[in-house]
Symmetry: C2
DNA sequence: CGACACTTTGACGCACTTCAAAGGGGGTGG
DNA sequence: CCACCCCCTTTGAAGTGCGTCAAAGTGTCG
């Protein structure tokens, strides 16, 4: 049983564990077999959940808010591989070390699962195994789509990015960005200034509106789609 | 048994099947559980092994030469995701469609395996399952490393590329490039001209030598490493 | 030998970066 | 509640790395 594996990873997590899991049920977070067990942990914004090359002993499910995975180059350039939102699983690696680090974009809560426990449970549970397989597939797809994005022009990258995060909240067109311009820039392989100018030019083209820094209204997704490539 | 699944995928493959498998043993191709079964198929250079969005019914092991995986943008831009060399497995997807196409860079030979057969065999064979899991992990790592490459400068990209293909033939520093400049450019997200100029400037820096179009001598890997970022 | 595809080189233009400075917004303390 | 500060965002001007276009050079195959 996975529940046997629950240990106090941090004192904070230990204290808040039960209360948080109870809170989580009210958050509209998708429910799966992962939700019943695992250690609830909170992270302040910009704090590190795990670092590059650290042992990948845990697998995480994001309970609330937003996480980014990063890779740093020697000269300080930063690559944000992906943003994860509530309900997403992250931190699963085929190798035993994390090739990227994970940080909280804003104050966030995760459920942590012992990798060994999950993997050994999967050995005898084909449904779980399928879930993990699908997860790896999604990660691969995500990485490949990002590759494709990185060969596009600045405007195309920003438009693609907006559509991608817009998909997650399809119903209304108001998108609340959890990350700042620097995060977006490092995700798209651009500078902050270029991101800003691209957003502005999308606004001029009536594709979007920018009521505040962090809120974007997707006024015309068709224009955005046409600008994607 | 997988051997039951062997069918004639193409007439050519059918005819050459046995003879090719016999030839393959002499090629120094790494041997694994995959080599005993599967359909040997040959492809002329630039011919397509499978296309984007085609059903992913087969998994392939490259017996000889070189394969590239491609994605095309609407306006004709091409992204080469990866090059595969003899012994590599490719074409395994979590989804049931190939998200990228695969083409032969030069005349090449592959062994094809029914995906269903491999997957169902893996269900009862944990060693094979581990092999497939590791393969997905490699693909993910490859994609992520490529992401990182695409945020670098032209010179850094070319240097990284040379070191990567240089790793495969570590012993001597003579690298025989199977692909042309356009393939390299489309892999690195650059133009042919920029690739050429970067190679020339690496030659001027005494990092490499270019005796012919397709042969590159890695004269100083330390310089290349320093130029990687 | 000639046709062809690929590679290389040069000149020029542009998209994005860099550098600099001004313009909010939100939080804290008085 | 206002004032101040800090961080983030935005804008402008100038620089540059890479793309584009054009043409010459090189290897290969019939």
């Amino acid at each position: 049983m996975l529940s046997d594996e629950i240990v106090a990873v941090s004192y904070l997590a230990h204290l808040r564990n039960r209360a948080m899991r109870e809170q989580l049920t009210g958050f509209g977070v998708p429910v799966s077999r992962f939700d019943r067990v695992g250690i609830a942990m909170s992270f302040f914004r910009n704090s590190e959940i795990y670092g590059e090359n650290e042992p990948a002993d845990y697998l995480y499910k994001l309970a609330s808010e937003t996480i980014r995975t990063c890779k740093l180059l020697a000269d300080g350039r930063r690559q944000i591989g992906a943003f994860y939102t509530a309900g997403d699983l992250f931190g699963l690696e085929a190798a035993d070390k994390h090739p990227v680090s994970a940080e909280a974009v804003v104050d966030s809560t995760v459920l942590a699962f012992k990798r060994n426990a999950v993997m050994s449970l999967a050995a005898s549970n084909s449904a779980l195994q399928g879930e993990l397989w699908a997860l790896m597939g999604q990660e691969l797809q995500r990485a490949r789509r990002h590759n494709l994005l990185l060969i596009k022009t600045a405007l195309e990258r920003v438009a693609s990015f907006l559509l991608e995060i817009g998909e997650r909240s399809e119903i209304n067109s108001n998108v609340e960005l959890p990350m700042n311009r620097r995060d977006i820039a490092d995700h798209l392989g651009l500078t902050v200034e270029t991101v800003v100018r691209s957003l502005r030019s999308l606004e001029v083209a009536s594709a979007i509106a920018l009521p505040t820094f962090k809120r974007i209204v997707l006024r015309d997704r068709e224009i955005l789609k046409r600008m994607c490539s």
